[in-house]
Structures are given as structure tokens and as C-alpha cells.
Amino acid sequence: MNAGTSNDGTTVHLASPAAEEYLDGVRAALADLPAPEVAEILDDVRAHLADLTAELDDGADVAALTARLGPPSAYAAELRSAAGYPAADPEEAGRPRHGLARLALAAPVAGALLFLLGIAAREITVVFVGLVIGAIGLPIVLRDGPRVPSVAALPEVRWLAGARPAGPTTRTVTGFVASLQPAWWVLRAIAAAALVVSVFSGGEAPAVLLLGLLAVPLSVWVGHRTRRDRRLLWVVVPLNALAAFVLLWMLVDGVPGSREPSPADYSVSVPGLWQDGDREIRDIRPVDAAGNPLTGVYLFDQDGMPIDTSGAECSGADAGANAAYPRGTWDYDPRTGRCRYTPPAPLVVAVPAPPAPGSGPAGALPTAGPTAGPTPAPPAGSVPPAPPSVTPPPASPTR
């Protein structure tokens, strides 16, 4: 379907792409006139061209229209003189449009840069400003024809198009890359589906597949449409960049939102006290420097917060979170469905050997580890005072 937009926003159907191309030529030649007037004229001309192409039947290409009406510029000049508009100054006509066309081209580039910058810096305001600036180009290209003649006429765009190296090899390469385009249409549809699913439902793979099946035909349609109407590039290119970004992300991370939680996630969410994230500490058995078990010990961390070993199940059982160590352990009994208390069993531990041989062990140590611990100093210093010096005194009396 071939559609153009008239001045009042209604979409009208055109008979042929040739008519649209001829209309672009007329539009370009009238571009110095006020936009509403140009829109009115083009409404007439569009209908005129549709009637002519219908008269010319299948042979209605631009050459046939030109043979019948003269070139678009001559048509525009004749219309101009009959309507009493000032004649176009051949030198001045192109200038103001170049400015607008440049803005149309520069706005999305600047917008995209700001958008990326905002994402990198996690500044939502910058992202938003980037979006707004990027959108400035849209109304300008929408006033243009489907081939965006005003932008294509820019010297720098012409230079870029001309600078492309020609030759059989490059033609083969560009032809090959162009033949891959449908594959990209499919890929970006999957990326869009993955993005939508991950935003709205946490990213289940079947949902991505289902939505992808719907998105692929749409993406292919947009792709074909964009080949004809280059104005769509102003929307499609940023979306393509987003799709490429999502695809890269999927390659690195799997389908967004669906990856397995890592052990690091567990250590944050699982209650209780854990050693290195994989060994649960369910009770603490303090002993003094000689290896004698201590009772009624309160433990605090570097900030004076109590250390609590009670986990998720049975944590609330009688002992409470503020009991002294050793506490014994609470286990869930699947047979009775209740929590069962196990008092601290007798335990023999190896205490690191004291550094000074003079201060011998107080009692008969069962197994005095001959190998010195990693830090021999602390045990000797921490023996005499019962409350550790770092512990703030007010913490324990309140409990």
C-alpha cells in the first residue's frame, strides 16, 4: 500500500510510486512557499497525478508523466507563474531548506549521543533530553517526500554517497550485506519481543517465542516499507540501535530477566548466618584461650550489632534472636511438623598454641594443635578481659 499524508492529517492512497516521485520534485521546487499553501497545492497535484497515471494505465512511470507534463520543475514553474507566486530564485531556493535538512539530520545524531551518555551516566534527565532532541528531526522529515529529497540534496550527504568506493568487489560485498537484511529483520523482531517480555512479565522463553512469531512479520513489513519510504529511517534507525543493544545484552546475559540467580543473590536473600555464602553457621561455641568452653557469651560485630545465627525455619523458637551463645540448634522435624531443640553437645576444639612458652596451658588440653594458627597474637591478648574491648558496654545490659 502506498500512502501519503495530506495537510489535514488524513491518509490518502496514491496510484503509483511514479506519481509520488514526481510529486516530490514539484514539492522541492515549491519549497520556498509557505508550508500550508504548498500542502494545498500538493493536494491538487496529487489528485491530478493520480488521474493521469490512471489514464496512462500501466505505463505510468516518471518518464511518462514527464512526457505528458514536462519535468516537475517546469510544472512547478508554470503553476507558480499562473498562481501569481514570486518566481523561485534558483540560488536562494535551496538554502533555507538546507538548514532545516541539516537540523533533521543532526537532531537524531545529537539525540542518540545524549541518550547513550545518559544511559552510561545513569542520568534519566539526560536520556529524556536526548529523546526530545532526537524527535525534533521527525516533523521536518515528515514534511518531506518519501525519498527525503531535502536531506538527500545536502552536500555532505551527497559527498558521503559519492565517497562510497565502487567496483565489482565492493558491489559483491554490499550486495551480500544487503541480502542479509531480512535476517536482521527477524533478529530485531526477536530482540523487540525479548525486550517487551522482559519488561512486562519477567522474560519467559516461550513468551518471547510467541511474541517473536507476531513481531517477525511486522518487522519484515516495516523493513520493506522503509526501503520505499526513507522517512521511516528516522524512527527505524534508533529502534535498530536499541535492538542491537538488546541482542548484545542477550548474548552476554541470556534472555533478559530469565537467568538463574547466582550464589551471590542467595547470600543476600537467604536468612541466617553464612560462612562465605555456602556454609551455614547455626550456633557459635566460644572457648577461652585454653580451650575451655564459655557460656553466656554475647557476640557483636564491628558496628556493635548483635550477631544472630537463627535462620528462617525455627528461628522464632523460644531462644529468641538475642540469646547468649552457645544456644544449641533448632531443627525442623518433618514427622511432627514442629521444631526440635538440640542443646549444645560437648565439643572439643583445638586452640592455637600460645606464643609465649611461659604462660602454659591452664588445664590438660586434649589436643593442643602444634601448628600455630594464622594469627597467634590475638588469643593471648583477649584472654584476661571478659568483655571484648571493642564492644560498646551499653549494648549488652539492655538485652
Binding site: 492512497h13 496514491l14 494545498e40 497545492i41 491538487d44 489528485a47 503553476l79
Partner: protein
Amino acid sequence: MDTSQLLKGVLDLAVLAVLDRGDGYGYEVVRGLRAAGLQEVGDASVYGTLRRLYNAGLLTSYVVPSEEGPHRKYYSLNAPGRDRLHEMAKTWRAFAETMEGLVAVA
């Protein structure tokens, strides 16, 4: 003699006369002029003339949507347009009479 040169001076009158017979869109006016014998009239000239007459307040326009193809903008003569047509027709008759008298001798 080149008819298109003559046409330039009377195209307004010709277009107003065609529209006086009934409302029409641009290409209808072109065909009306051709059917009346003005083969040399340029399509773009007619469209330009319609715009000028419209902007001068002599015509009104309305849009008729079309099933296939773009919608058509119909032009219609309003009261000032009709006045102008009669005025121009009077001038034209006097002018044509004068010319006829002049040319009859040749």
C-alpha cells in the same frame, strides 16, 4: 499566432466560466477547457489559476474523499466569484467586439 499567449490574459475568465457550469476538481476544469476547444491550456497553469482565484476569495473549496486514489478538492464559485465572472464577461464581450471590428477589415 500563438494561442497560449492569448490564453494567459483570459484564463481566469475561462476557468470561472467552466466552474459557473458546475463545481469541479482541478483535472475536471482542465478537461472542461480542453473540451471547449482550448487545447493549449497547460495543466499546471489551470492549477495555479485555481489557487490564485481561491486565494483572492472568488472560489470556495471542499474535499470529497475517494474510494481509490487521493481525495479530490472541488472548487466552487461563490458570490464574489460570480460577480467577477459577470464583470469579466462584460469586459471580454466589449473587447472581443472591438477586436472583431478591427480584424473584420483585414
